[in-house]
């Protein structure tokens, strides 16, 4: 393998490949930062151009775009509270408060270091642990996916620890929205109100833009006279770079744990960065000695989500390269590109075409290294631009972008209408002190939970009681244990702090 890696490194480091990858990382970053242009779409847009390239350059370019896009989502999350891709949802929780406190640049640089570092850890896992990890991933069947989503829902408890009832109501609301459209199993038409476009369900991106971005823009617009002209505060800070660097690497445990969570969630087909970043956020908060600072601008929150989401990129490549099963939607497109290049994912990629496979892995490593530089330079300029533009120009421009973005999801006006309605509801909910996190979580997890539940039940039909399948498989039992622990932890913490206060 050493020889292969060396040969692959030499193959990647040609001027042409480096230029393609620089283009990929930068283009991906910009696409990721634009709400509505997801990593999936960015990769799909570039695929036709890679047909004319040789396989290594083509794959390296696609990989670089994917990495860049997942990272780019952090920019809009931090600066305007809008996850550019669903993988940056959690980045808004602490990144945007940091920006509001004038620490936007620090948040961006922290995200850069965490993303690039997370991606590097992910790549190392991909190169050295692919085969055993892919085997573990296959052990997860429908019942396990059901329990994973139930575990995901326990994140509500940490997101809304101050008001559990509102958190649970939000989660239930999100689950309900996720049911609009054709049932994933059975094909029933649900809650479409007779509109054909709703057969495809409500688009997550529309809801994200509506819930996160619009209420903030309305808030800024409403306070315009009282505020300074700029939408984003800047406080002159010395040594931002160094401080951001230390944010990530001073507490390596948070960073490494988040990257590992990201890589593992990425490996599971059907779960991607949108779930990984929230799980990592949850674990970071749980492990923290000062959990109450999360959500108020704690850089560790940004570290967790960004390290996790960039590690999912490489995690998603594990089942793709070893088994030919894409771990995430963008990986599915890279799969298509591989096939059209005449390569067949699976064991062959590690024998007859191993030179291409290892070159692709090495190129991911290089792309993440590039992100350090491109991220700092690009982040600095985006930050400057956003802070220079007066709010009365910035706010309408961003609203305009959100309309373009939600239209571009699948060129459908319905997605724009949903986004605007979502914005209205989001504004009301914000006034009523509902956290948007649980709603979005419900929306993401709903379809996966439903599939897991129904498929699991169908699997169990040959048993005398089909439901037992959910409680008898070893991984399911382990997951149930984790869920009980995860749901009980915030309650325990609450009780403990009450008890201690009582002592004093």
């Amino acid at each position: 393998m050493g020889e292969l890696l060396l040969a692959a490194t030499i193959a990647v480091f040609s001027v042409k490949n480096i230029l393609f990858m620089l283009f990929g990382v930068s283009a991906g970053m910009i696409a990721g930062a634009l709400p509505g242009l997801t990593a999936t779409m960015s990769v799909a847009l570039i695929v036709p151009f890679t047909f004319t390239m040789d396989p290594i350059s083509g794959m390296a370019t696609l990989g670089a775009i994917y990495c860049g896009a997942i990272f780019g989502g952090a920019f809009s999350a931090i600066l305007v509270n809008t996850p550019g891709t669903p993988s940056s949802i959690g980045t808004t929780f602490d990144g945007y408060p940091m920006a509001k406190q004038g620490k936007g640049e620090e948040a961006i640089f922290t995200a850069t270091f965490a993303s690039a570092g997370g991606g590097l850890i992910g790549t190392v896992i991909l190169i050295f642990l692919s085969v055993p990890l892919a085997k573990v991933a296959l052990k997860f069947g429908p019942p396990e996916y059901f329990w994973i989503t139930m575990f995901g829902l326990t994140i509500i408890a940490s997101l809304a620890s101050k008001n559990m009832l509102k958190g649970l109501a939000g989660g239930a609301f999100g689950l309900l929205i996720s049911m609009i459209g054709i049932a994933p199993i059975g094909g029933d038409v649900r809650f479409t109100m007779g509109l054909p476009a709703f057969q495809g369900g409500v688009q997550l991106i529309s809801v994200l833009i509506g819930f996160f971005c619009i209420p903030e823009m309305l808030r800024i617009a409403g306070n315009l006279s009282k505020q300074k002209m700029q939408a984003v505060n800047v406080e002159k800070q010395e040594g931002v770079l160094a401080r951001s660097f230390w944010n990530v690497f001073r507490k390596p445990f948070n960073f490494i744990r988040s990257a590992i969570i990201g890589a593992f969630v990425g490996i599971l087909p059907g779960a991607g960065g949108n779930i990984a970043n929230l799980v990592a956020y949850n674990e970071a908060q749980r492990a923290s000695k000062e959990p109450e600072t999360f959500g108020t601008g704690n850089p560790q929150g940004v570290v967790a989500t960004e390290a996790a989401n960039n590690a999912t990129v490489e995690g998603g490549m594990v089942p793709l390269l070893t088994l030919g099963i894409p771990g995430a939607p963008p990986a599915a497109i890279i799969y298509g590109a591989l096939m059209l290049q005449g390569l067949r994912p699976g064991p062959e990629l590690f024998s007859s075409s191993a030179h291409i496979t290892y070159a692709f892995m090495v190129s991911l490593f290089v792309a993440n290294l590039m992100m350090f530089v491109v991220g700092i330079l690009g982040g600095r300029s985006i930050f400057k631009i956003v802070t220079m533009i007066p709010a009365k120009i910035l706010v309408p421009s961003i609203i305009f972008l959100t309309i373009l973005g939600s239209y571009s999801i699948r060129n459908n006006m319905m997605d724009v209408i949903v986004m605007l309605i979502g914005g209205f509801i989001g504004y009301l909910l914000k006034e009523l002190n509902f956290h948007p996190g649980p709603i979005v979580l419900g929306l993401i997890l709903g379809p996966i939970a439903e599939k897991g539940l129904v498929q699991g039940f169908l699997m169990g039909l040959s048993r005398s009681n089909p439901w037992t399948i959910f409680f008898t498989r070893p991984i399911s039992i382990a997951l149930i244990g984790i869920i009980i622990f995860s749901a009980g932890w915030p309650v325990y913490r609450e009780l403990k702090s009450k008890y201690q206060k009582g002592e004093n």
Partner: protein, 318 residues
């Protein structure tokens, strides 16, 4: 010169100019939007992407692929039937999807006959595949086990009311067995369930059998003849089961598109199908190349409507 002659002259002049305009304005004279109604990376996207470049060569204009995803294709097709019928908006269409959705949904936003087929260019027959470590080495063992243990065998496949779903029901009938069909969202999503041995087998497409040939054993293929990419796999018919099923994919235009435009697009599709590079690439991936022009496709769709109505009625889904 009398008035009559003048008017004849004028009319003929007008006619000539119109005709020459028609000759000048030969379709296509601008980019063609080719809508893909399924997720990027799936079979429909893959084959449309493979067509894109050769189509551009044949037509001499850009072919722009746009994604109109959702509802198992219904979102894209409901938009297609509303689009301007000038041939500059076309979409990929799939059988049996465009037949089954209007049959089982109240309002999918389109009717089967509104989707005007241009060309059916490829098909993926169903296959019955099991894990390579499975106890079933032959179809006979599989059927015998299913007979002795009714309802115990689970078969994963792509979606509800799909070729995989209907195929499982048809095979159950043909072999007089009872298996449980478990729908997954997309053919790719069903594969991990088989590799992790969470289902006993897959009713999936030939393409999956080729992609994962190292990890799965294909017991039989539901085609009329053996598929070139898997010459050792027998057909169900050879083994005595009257069961042929699969998905067909093609290009369709909005209702009312002029026949000469449809003809032009169909010729381009045919030309692409005849390119050895295109044909070989698709056949290696497990696709069957099919050449069905507009009339033939329309006739085929009509036949399939009757066929699926019968099947759905037989299994009690209609």
């Amino acid at each position: 010169m009398n008035k009559k002659l003048l008017s004849i002259l004028l009319v003929s002049l007008f006619l000539v100019s119109v005709l020459s305009l028609n000759v000048m304005a030969e379709f296509p004279e601008k980019a063609i939007n080719y809508n893909v109604c399924f997720n990027p990376g799936g079979e429909s996207d893959l084959t449309a992407r493979a067509q894109q470049q050769p189509l551009e060569e044949v037509l001499g204009e850009d072919v722009v692929i746009q994604y109109k995803i959702g509802g198992g294709g219904a979102v894209g097709w409901s938009e297609l039937v509303q689009a301007k019928p000038d041939g500059y908006t076309v979409a990929g269409f799939n059988l049996p999807h465009i037949i089954l959705q209007p049959l089982v949904r109240d309002n999918p936003g389109y009717e089967t006959k509104e989707i005007k087929p241009v060309f059916i260019f490829e098909a993926t027959p169903n296959i019955l595949a099991v894990h390579k470590d499975s106890q079933f080495k032959t179809l006979e063992q599989f059927v015998n086990y299913a007979k002795e243990n009714p309802g115990v065998i689970t078969l994963g496949g792509s979606g509800s009311y799909s070729a995989n779903h209907l195929g499982t029901l048809e095979f159950n009938q043909a072999a007089d067995i009872r298996t449980t069909y478990i729908p997954f969202t997309g053919s790719g999503e069903a594969v991990p369930a088989l590799l992790g041995q969470h289902v006993s087998g897959l009713m999936t497409y030939t393409t999956m059998g080729i992609r994962h040939s190292d990890e799965m054993r294909v017991l039989a293929v539901a085609a009329d003849e053996r598929v070139p990419a898997m010459p050792d796999v027998p057909t169900f018919k050879e083994l005595g089961y009257d069961y042929v099923e699969g998905a067909y994919r093609g290009m369709a235009a909005p209702p009312g598109t002029p026949d000469d435009v449809i003809e032009k697009l169909a010729e381009a599709n045919l030309a692409v199908n005849e390119m050895p590079s295109f044909k070989n690439k698709l056949e290696d991936m497990g696709f069957q190349i099919i050449n069905m022009g507009p009339e033939e496709s329309e006739k085929f769709v009509e036949d399939r409507i009757e066929y699926y109505k019968k099947i759905l009625a037989e299994v009690g889904l209609l």
